[in-house]
């Protein structure tokens, strides 16, 4: 890959991302709408639910960042990869000096960039309108964000690579996505959920992402984040390596 082919490919993948509509909608418009809607209802005064320490928006903004990661990692990533695979788009790129691996690399890069841009928008809007509290250190928050991306993207890649049929991979990614955004605290706080759902939520990777992001945003000690860190690092390793093995076996040719 040359600088020329990298930047042109990036430009095209960004265009495709925007034209896809669902991705930018769920990555930017939806979380912004959620902030404005719930913000107008609950405001950001510290309340009983969060021990009078945090306001609803303080809790919601990092959770929505978790949702943004899920949109791009569990929806956009596997849906687009399997679409290119089933329609034999990758095959066409394999018949050029670029090769499909470089295209996949740029796709992942662009979706990661989409997470960072969307997260920045969500955080800045939350800060401008509701003056959300970010007590945490950015030198901790940013690595936490990147670890979260790594784990969730690895999971999305795993889903795309493990199923032989692209259609099944797509159905699985929808199911995992919707389960996670509703039951992990990414869009609705777990604090309001019944106990059995909270137990179930603990097996969802996104719950750990939300915990980690909320914890680091609010300046909790790293030692309190150990569960989330171990789960996410483990998920990255397991999904990443099995995904890579399955990809190498099938090659998407």
């Amino acid at each position: 890959m040359t600088a020329k082919s990298f930047s042109k490919t990036m430009q095209m993948i960004v265009k495709l991302y925007i034209r896809d509509f669902a991705s930018p909608f769920f990555s930017v418009v939806f979380p912004l709408g959620a902030i404005l809607l719930f913000g107008s209802i609950y405001g950001n005064e510290p309340g009983e639910l969060f021990n009078y320490r945090l306001g609803a928006m303080d809790v919601m903004v990092p959770a929505l960042v978790g949702m943004v990661i899920a949109v791009n990692g569990i929806m956009t990533l596997p849906l687009n990869l399997t679409e290119f695979m089933t329609n034999k788009v990758y095959k066409r790129f394999d018949a050029t000096p670029m090769g499909k691996e470089n295209i996949i690399f740029v796709q992942v890069f662009v979706y990661l960039l989409a997470v960072l841009v969307s997260a920045a928008i969500v955080i800045v809007v939350g800060w401008l309108i509701y003056d959300i509290n970010i007590d945490g250190n950015w030198l901790v928050i940013i690595p936490a964000l990147l670890l979260s991306c790594l784990a969730i993207f690895a999971m999305g890649f795993f889903i795309a690579a493990v199923f032989k049929s692209g259609k099944i991979a797509q159905v699985v990614s929808y199911i995992v996505y919707f389960l996670m955004i509703f039951l992990s605290g990414a869009t609705m706080p777990l604090e309001i959920m019944p106990d059995n759902i909270r137990t179930f939520a603990n097996i969802l990777p996104l719950t750990h992402v939300v915990n980690l992001l909320q914890g680091t945003f609010h300046g909790q000690a790293i030692s309190e984040q150990m569960t989330a860190i171990v789960v996410l690092a483990g998920l990255s390793a397991v999904c990443g390596s099995i995904g890579a093995v399955m990809y190498n076996r099938r090659k998407w040719a």
């Binding site: 040359t2 020329k4 082919s5 930047s7 042109k8 490919t9 095209m12 265009k15 495709l16 034209r19 896809d20 679409e83 290119f84 329609n87 034999k88 788009v89 095959k91 066409r92 394999d94 018949a95 050029t96 000096p97 670029m98 090769g99 040719a253």
Partner: protein
Amino acid sequence: MSILAKVENLRVQYGSNVAVNDISFEISAGEIVAVIGSNGCGKTSAMECLGGLRNPGGGAVAVFGKDPRNERKEIYHELGVQLQESAYPEKIKVGEICDWFSSFYENPVAYEKLLAQFGLADKAKSYVSKLSGGQRQRLSILLAMLGRPKLLILDELTTGLDPEARRGIWEILKVIKSGGIGVLLVSHYMDEVENLADRIIFMQSGKIFFTGTLGELQSFAQENLPAEKWNADMRLEDIYLAFAPEQKAIALGELL
């Protein structure tokens, strides 16, 4: 003449189905070689092995002296292909895909000129998914030529094209050939093969049944066809049909 690509004892197998069974051929600079044969006789499978897109089950393939499986990206700097089975992203425009593919090559042809030559100039801003079948086919051929290849592999190049576009592409291929480029094309149109091919590779159920010039095929037909089937002014299509496997006769009445 330098040899651009070489296939030796190539085999391709899908499960127990042997699609390509021990074929060998080569293609040199400045020649057009046409591969003909019935549906399913293994043409596409063989082309995809040449392009490094499919693993041979046996034998050796070399393109520019390199193994296309191991050095695929390198060979594609000088190899252009139009695949029978492949697609472009749904939401991309004609001009964009040309621009995108151009970025893969060091010294690409100005695609605006090619678009005009292929009758697609007014389609540059249309989505690829909105093109007609023939227009998409033209785009595929255009993209195959974008990187100034030394070898062009075209699998069913004029399928779906109108007669004028077909002639246009023949002219382009003749110009390309005179520039020393090798062309390997798969075609079901015998007039096209007669018009373009320096050599013909005639495949039947995974094997090369005949290879040589049109004149040599005519002599081959004279020697090998039963006297009642042969006559002096047989065209390529007649010879093809005389050798093609018999289609099982169906009682046409059953269709009604």
